[in-house]
Subunit: 344 residues, 4 copies
């Protein structure tokens, strides 16, 4: 099977290339990149030694699946025609994640070029939409923050055991900001420091809210989402807080057992979600496709504290995209994603 | 005036030495340290070049003020007799922070050796207890996390504008774990990773709760406190979340103005608290005694999001201790603490 | 085929487990570890999720190959009996690297427990000793620094184009210091700092000298080796300096071409050495088994400046050990070592 | 006394502001900055809280001393007229460091706008040119690498105890690359990696060579200089290698004693050079103006290994500039530079 990557020169794009290079059923046959046209992949990225594919201005030849790692809007502009031509597409940008066009246009401050594709686009959180993904023509790969937060909260939200006021405090490595230059990704500004950003609303908020509401349509979910930048390259850890409804769980340690059982059951068939009983670290996901979920209770205040952590470029981007491709084409879901995390 | 430091060989102790070395009114005349007796300060810590004071087993000579940077319990055992002898003491350990002995003994799993001193010990958060500190014989210097969180929340709690459910999500550099060896301070384990720890209750929780309740005795403050370790040496940033009471602030941006005015007024006379209008980074406090406080509102959900950040070894430990000493002895509060932050 | 790991609980040991877990021809059947006996691999190392092998006090059952990741001396004590029993062994410690027992005993300050095994032990730098490794019963896996430095210098030394005075200035990440606690691996001491260490002689010096002399027995090679610790987890980069003999290379850029050809030819059949024409970064080897070699000339002073870089836990330890195992058992040399580097 | 800073918005400029803000004899009265005109210093740099000086397009009012932190060429263009107007100038750029105009123009690939000022410009390495600096109108502040390397080598070179072949291997934090955006200062590219750069000749090489030759005019000094970028913000450590002349020092440990005495004597009157007997770390200079020099011998090969380390923004830039100003205006050399290093 043949695959193409649009905009291979960013961090999500090059991670797709790294993972696809070892996929036994897929051959990467075409890659595009703005500003690197004419070079080969291994010229531009020395760690991709041996991948001598030329970087082209547009995908060439026919491909069975195309991944887009372009920024929003230009991504929709690039993949719209492909979808209409019958190529199955996995879009890593935000363009097809929000079902409500007006909401998209408000948050992203642009007109959507292909609103007609939204209806059939599938939100690519594999654990929640595996069936729809299997037959999808266009998959909207989730954001890195939403993947960590939604997976940490989904069992509790769907089961209706928490109140609707939810706080999500996330910490991210810097690679999430991409390969484009900016002062907020400048080494000396970021190293040895931590800060919250997008304090008046991060673009991943509507995506999180949309999905939590789909899990519990009758609840009036109200999310406060606060992302932080911390001095590391890869990794996201989201701590999610909500008050447990009275009587929803047994009192004391027994309630904690019920909570864990709820989570383990929810993710029983998901190869990449690991429900754990001790506080996880992002290092335990470095370079692999796991999302580690740690559901816990603050028994003093009867609050759920659910932590989700992952590698933002793998389960938070390229890895989940390949997982979705595997589902779409009937390959084993874990194919080419078997690597254990790199530790330490 | 003469000062002594008990246990100068940990990070808080050596930071005290660094700051006292340049204090124009105080002479550091005696230091103790377990395991380094016989060496001089500059032998043991090359960056203290020129400080040739010998490290002794016990404080020698008479001192006007003693700082203890010992761990809990052994600190109380060391400073108890000094206080009884009339030496004014600033204790950086947790031993005299909690007013309730039983609570101390439960959280620290030890019997308190000098419970009779608790009544007159003053909690050394300078901004809240400046007057009591001025005449105190024994000051219990606050923890690093509590300093950042209490200062971020105090104006809102005292004014009664928020509900009693409070979430505090803190991120700390590793120096807070001290100079003692442990896997959780081992470079390769901590670098490039983030994790929550003490997930079932950190010892700074009762201290935070005690102080917030003193600010609003009638509210039934219920705090969830979740500390995280991030890969940097110095710095703490605490994000504090609580729902604003209906009508407590005007709707929309006007409410935000009211909130900021409340905070600015509250800290009007505090030289080391800076109330700001943009999200701060811990780097802006590196090596200095400021606590930067950023009060903000999530207008979508009507929630207070108040951020406090500081250098855990300065305002979070040694700097605040010297600030308290300045207050106790009538020196200008900022004396020897004037350094601007080291940036970048 | 069955493999065992002795002392899986250090960084080299756990990296062996990570890499062997995906080897298609080898089954990891037994692991030992001091201090973790009774736990499973995935209990002790959460990133090895799914590896439920118990950690035992001694290897159990029969194995075809055993890896030892013990420290020196105790490693020889553990593998000596295995070798005598006919198990093929790859020893990651330094115990069988030095051919001269007296030199070993001087540098490691201990008596060698199995000097009689030295004669038939093969130095496991795959590129230099592939044939001997193929039939070896005992392979002494090289040190991380020596691998980077010897590979950077071997073509020039063997060709006799440089004088015998050689300077090797190496920079290493902290994981090379292992998982054992020490102040020189304590986060707050190492982060944001660089230092040279072992300034009066590092134990890898005799190993480097031995191997360079074997490449050019008539030259009186005199090496100054200076290792530095830098604030990162994985990676070693060695810069090697030596004066080019008059007339050994053509003048100017043509000489550089000759140099590069010499290196490319030397490593023509080595899948894991990449000879490059631009200054490499350790990041380009993260998690994979490559050693990148960059031969260059300082044309102003007619000096060779050859750089070698690698991941100290992969090509510098566990990866090379598996490469050697592949050679010993007739598997393709790259088997289970195909992963591209993790970037960024 | 009044001082101005030209281009305060880079890292050297802002560090000048930080240090001048606390100078008891100097008032910072005017600052300029490209791209930040109209803001105040504390708007632009929150850590300079309280410094409400406006950032202007040109220096305003009269100043007694001007510091230029502009890049090369534009710096000469800015300070040339000031010098001619009688303002005493300390130029942090490279424009007036090289005595040979042709050499400058070749390395910096530009025509020098004020070659006539070169003759009377003084190279501002305080330890070597204190007297000339005292009366200078124009001081060319040294580069960060040259300061570390020249101070590490000067005593040995001047005493004539080493041969003329010198290798300097330097490791630098990223702040040396400045605040301007580039991929080589992009967090995710630099973090967790080390690389050599400017491998065919760094612009600090001619400066180092010029000064070492002035110390030993008859020797034909030939320097290979190799800078490396390591993942930290501040700090430079240079390891310098050269062969000791036969008989220049006594054999064995006695020679080491002679070497140390030579260094201690050389720097007897220099408040900011600390000659030490153990391998130093850059952390011991963080934020202060020391250069730590560690002279050592590789007794196996009779080679000098001299290490110099410093904070590249302090002794390597802004601190040394203020030290020079102190000398020029008759203030104590250490004034406003007394801070001890920030540790850890």
């Amino acid at each position: 099977m043949k695959a193409g990557i649009i905009n291979v020169t960013g961090y999500a794009g090059v991670e797709l290339a790294r993972l696809l290079a070892r996929h036994p059923e897929v051959k990467l046959t075409s890659v595009t990149g703005r500003g690197a046209v004419g070079q080969t992949l291994s010229d531009y990225f020395p760690h991709l030694a041996g991948l001598d594919l030329p970087i082209e201005p547009e995908l060439s030849g026919s491909v069975d699946v195309a991944f887009s790692a372009l920024p929003q809007k230009v991504s929709a502009e690039a993949v719209g025609p492909l979808v209409k031509d019958g190529v199955r597409v996995i879009d890593i940008s935000a363009d097809f994640r929000l079902k409500n066009v007006a909401e998209y246009e408000e948050w992203y401050e642009t007109r959507h070029p292909y609103p007609e594709l939204l209806e059939n686009a599938v939100y690519g959180l594999t654990e929640l939409y595996r069936e729809e993904i299997a037959s999808a023509r266009l998959v909207a790969n989730p954001g890195c923050y939403p993947t960590s937060a939604i997976l940490a909260l989904a069992p509790a939200v769907q089961a209706g055991i928490i109140h609707s006021d939810i706080i999500i405090d996330s910490k991210s490595g810097v690679s999430g900001a991409g390969r484009g230059l900016s002062l907020t990704a400048h080494f000396s500004e970021i190293n040895e420091s931590v800060m919250a950003y997008s304090v008046n609303g991060h673009r991943h908020l509507p995506e999180i809210t949309q999905e939590l509401r789909r899990l519990s349509p009758s609840a009036d979910i109200a999310v406060t989402f606060m992302p932080h930048l911390i001095p590391m390259t890869r990794g996201i850890l989201s701590a999610c807080y909500a008050t447990v409804k009275d009587g929803a769980l047994a009192a004391g340690p027994k309630g904690l057992e019920e909570l864990r059982t709820l989570y383990v059951d929810f993710y029983r068939n998901d190869p990449f979600v690991r429900v754990v009983t001790a506080s996880p670290m992002t290092k335990h996901t470095l370079g692999n496709n796991d999302c580690i979920v740690f559901p816990n209770l603050d028994l003093r205040t009867n609050r759920l504290v659910a932590i989700g952590c992952l590698d933002n470029l793998v389960k938070g981007a390229a890895g989940q995209a390949i997982e979705n491709m595997n589902v779409m084409f009937g390959f084993p879901e874990t194919m080419s994603l078997e690597a254990l995390a790199l530790y330490p």
